[in-house]
């Protein structure tokens, strides 16, 4: 780490953790693909922005669990919290005929407060618009999917999609930030018992 900077221009956010487990009642085998999506003011300084996990089978006990234990590690620098990074996960697996189809998309913002966070990400798939399309997609193995998984991290264009939510992915992330306080950003409530001295009057 470099020395103390009295006038920082950027703040850093480091996220490390893992994609722990998933629960999908209707699937038997899955692998997942993750990517970190961020705004224009954010730059990745180290770590991997995307990756693919191993292929895992559902456990045959009463837990019915998929375990990936897949490491996540990324460090960002930014000038502006707008465009805070999101983790986008997409899960794929074989259907009854062995063809690979998408089983779920999900996204979550990485936490803003330093510390350890357990996140539960609900997953959903787009659905066909008509019954006939549903049948042909089941028959041909070409289910509806998003052209770019990043769409689930954006707000625009979602009002015309119909989805079916099925399953959850559990992720654990540890967050460390640097210089956010020096730039004036507060991510935790202030201590109201102590009065700060030398305060500007009025806004």
């Amino acid at each position: 780490m470099t020395g103390v900077n009295p006038n920082p221009a950027v703040f850093l956010v480091m996220a490390n953790g893992q994609i722990k487990t998933a629960e999908f009642p209707d699937c038997d085998e899955l692998y997942c693909r993750f990517m970190f999506v961020h705004g224009q003011d954010w730059v990745v300084t180290s770590g991997l922005e995307e990756g693919i996990s191993q292929f895992t089978h559902k456990s045959h006990d009463e837990r019915q669990l998929f375990v990936w234990n897949f490491p996540l590690n990324v460090t960002y620098k930014s000038t502006n919290p707008y465009g805070w990074p999101q983790l986008v996960i997409s899960c794929y697996g074989p259907d009854a005929f062995g063809r690979e189809i998408v089983r779920g998309y999900g996204s979550v913002h990485i936490p803003i407060t330093p510390g350890k966070h357990e996140l539960d990400i609900p997953m959903y798939v787009p659905v066909s618009t008509s019954r006939f399309q549903k049948f042909t997609s089941w028959f041909m193995g070409r289910r509806p999917e998003f052209v770019d998984p990043k769409v689930v991290s954006q707000g625009e264009g979602r009002d015309v999609t119909r989805v079916r939510s099925q399953g959850h992915v559990k992720v654990c992330l540890n967050i460390v930030t640097r210089d956010m306080k020096k730039l004036g950003y507060d991510v935790t409530p202030s201590d109201v018992t102590s009065v700060p001295v030398g305060v500007n009057a009025g806004i």
Partner: protein, 175 residues
């Protein structure tokens, strides 16, 4: 100037009578607040859950406001709609909640209500669907003429919001 970042998600909805729900949401703030970046309104996808009672939208919210005063603190208002298999939409509920006033991560439950009409209207609604709607959407988050409404309770909308404040302590604001 003080700045507020609202970063989070409209997670989903629970306890509504039917599935296949979507939500139109918006953020309303007073005159002292200026929107610098982000979308302050939107519409989520339609979700029909496979295994659960909870409908998940996971709709991202990322808004950056600059504040010259505390009055008119932003409020998020939601309208939950139900889309049936034929593609028709009917209103299921209105609700609003203030954006929390302390930085950090907040899990918020927004309760919703819908207007009810006369006995005949309720009877037609039972068979045909649809429900009375507000002519002026401002009534969702203002108390001004509420006494004229008769309403009934509907389900809950869940939000998870992270708030980052900037320069509030410079102005002596404790939050």
């Amino acid at each position: 100037m003080a700045e507020v970042h609202i970063i989070g998600q409209l997670v989903g909805a629970s306890e509504f009578p039917e599935h296949s729900l979507f939500c139109k949401w918006g953020i309303h703030a007073g005159g002292a607040w200026k929107l610098i970046a982000g979308l302050k309104e939107g519409q989520t996808q339609v979700d029909n859950p496979e295994n659960e009672e909870f409908a998940y939208w996971s709709h991202p919210i990322d808004v950056h406001y600059a504040a010259k005063g505390l009055q008119g603190w932003p409020r998020i208002h939601v309208q939950v709609w139900h889309q049936d298999s034929l593609g028709r939409s009917e209103l299921y509920g209105y609700g609003f909640v203030h954006v929390p006033t302390s930085p950090g991560t907040h899990k918020i439950e927004c309760v919703t209500w819908r207007p009810i009409g006369t006995m005949q209207e309720e009877l037609t609604q039972f068979f045909v669907g649809g429900c009375p709607q507000l002519k002026n959407a401002d009534l969702i988050y203002s108390g001004a003429d509420r006494y004229k409404l008769r309403t009934t309770a509907m389900g809950k909308v869940h939000l998870k919001l992270n708030l980052i404040f900037r320069n509030f302590d410079k102005y002596g604001v404790e939050c």
